[in-house]
């Protein structure tokens, strides 16, 4: 839907396609936070995520004329960001990835066991979320934090909608299992 001031996402993308730099600044303002955070969670390194966020907006600038309205601008931009992250992760060694993952886990205030002993359920859930696999974490973030629909997650991640549903289901089951291992039974599944 067109907005009164020409600032809907679709309109902004069209303006970017015609090389309107005002539009890319406004788009940057709208999406830099969520794309940066999405990328931090994927690559587990803030400096790398900053670079990838920058590259994502450069790609948006360069390819906005190829945007088709099959998906929303937001979904299109998330997919670009994700592709950047996946390309980078493929180039990095397992050792580097393990190191980053270890650092991120160390950043957690408590282990699941400690959080459970303290009776801090919120901290326990956070600690267990940090221990989900990258695939599970990604879909959890897209659904719970970025409010993406099944179709949108499917478009961003590049998997069928049924796979999105089962992946989220298994992520939630794994979360419950991790909590159970720490001694907290959620009564599900």
């Amino acid at each position: 839907m067109a907005s009164a001031n020409g600032n809907s996402d679709v309109e902004l993308i069209a303006r970017v396609a015609s090389k309107d730099r005002v539009a890319i600044e406004v788009l940057y303002g709208r999406y830099q936070v969520r794309l940066f955070r999405f990328l931090v969670r994927l690559v587990r390194n803030e400096a790398v995520a900053e670079e990838l966020t920058n590259e994502t907006f450069l790609e948006i600038w360069r390819t906005a004329d190829r945007f088709e309205s099959r998906s929303s601008p937001s979904t299109w931009m998330f997919a670009i960001a994700r592709n950047k992250a996946v390309s980078l992760l493929r180039k990095r060694s397992e050792a580097e990835l393990d190191e980053d993952a270890a650092m991120l886990i160390e950043d957690q205030a408590d282990t699941p066991e400690v959080a459970a002993q303290k009776g801090d359920k919120a901290a326990l859930i956070r600690a267990c979320l940090a221990r989900l696999s990258a695939d599970h974490r990604e879909v959890v973030d897209l659904v719970y934090y970025h409010d993406k629909s099944i179709k949108e997650v499917s478009d961003i991640v590049g998997i069928p909608e049924n796979t999105v549903k089962t992946r989220m289901f298994h992520a939630r089951k794994k979360l419950s299992e991790l909590m159970a291992e720490a001694g907290v039974d959620r009564g599900w599944p």
Binding site: V22, E25, N54, A130, D147, S149, M168, R172
Partner: protein
């Protein structure tokens, strides 16, 4: 009703798979109706919704704890664009503060993202306040910020002129605007003043003065407030 290998019904599994999107309100209409019918017939499943809300709260908390792009990142991007696409754009083409602020604050549909955007936007507000205080008062049509000329919005509804305190945080400013249901419609004007619309209609003098009096007490956020004529 079919049973899967764990003794749970296949229908229950299918519905449970949809529940996260039911809770976030992003389910298609057909699926939402399907879930609601199932929940009506199986009230015990509602307990799941509470678990999902817990998970969502903590997923949001984890993401909110992450930072934002560093100051200067946008300039870096624009420099790269200029390097690839040619010389710098004319000053008049740069976005005004209001366009930038409006862009940064409109699409953030969750409180977490809205706060994060405001945290980034506050840099612009602070800059505008400083710049605005240095610009001589030649009237509303002649001022300009570092971001370019300011757009002048139609003078409708009930509006106030507000200058934010230097120490006001992003959360305080957005919170205050939410409290008074205010929208920044133009600015910064000389002296760092923003025009804030508090109603689409003309409120009575007593009502406006009441709002102004309340705002004047919030000296940690506001350093000046007056009715805009």
């Amino acid at each position: 009703m079919s049973e899967n290998g764990t003794g749970r019904s296949a229908e229950r599994d299918e519905i449970e798979m949809l529940l996260p999107w039911y809770v976030t309100g992003t389910l298609s209409d057909d699926d939402r109706v399907r879930v609601e019918r199932y929940l009506a017939d199986h009230p015990e499943t509602a307990q799941q919704l509470e678990l999902i809300r817990e998970e969502q709260d903590e997923a949001v908390a984890v993401n909110e704890a992450l930072g934002t792009m560093p100051a200067g990142a946008l300039d870096k991007l624009l420099t790269q664009i200029e390097e690839t696409d040619g010389p710098a754009i004319a000053r008049a083409q740069r976005p005004g503060l209001m366009e930038t602020l409006a862009g940064w604050l409109t699409v953030f549909d969750t409180p977490a993202l809205k706060a994060a955007a405001a945290a980034a936007a506050i840099v612009i507000v602070a800059q505008a306040v400083v710049i605005g205080s240095l610009v001589r008062d030649d009237g509303p049509a002649s001022y300009e910020t570092a971001s370019g000329p300011t757009e002048v919005a139609p003078a409708t509804g009930t509006r106030l002129l507000i200058a934010f305190a230097e120490g006001a945080t992003a959360a305080q400013i957005t919170g205050l605007l939410e409290d008074i249901e205010g929208t920044i419609v133009s600015g910064p004007k000389p002296g760092g003043l923003f025009e804030v619309r508090i109603s689409e209609t003309e409120l009575t003098d007593a009502a406006v003065e009441n709002v102004v009096a309340g705002l004047k007490r919030r000296t940690n956020i506001i350093r000046y407030v007056a009715i805009s004529n």
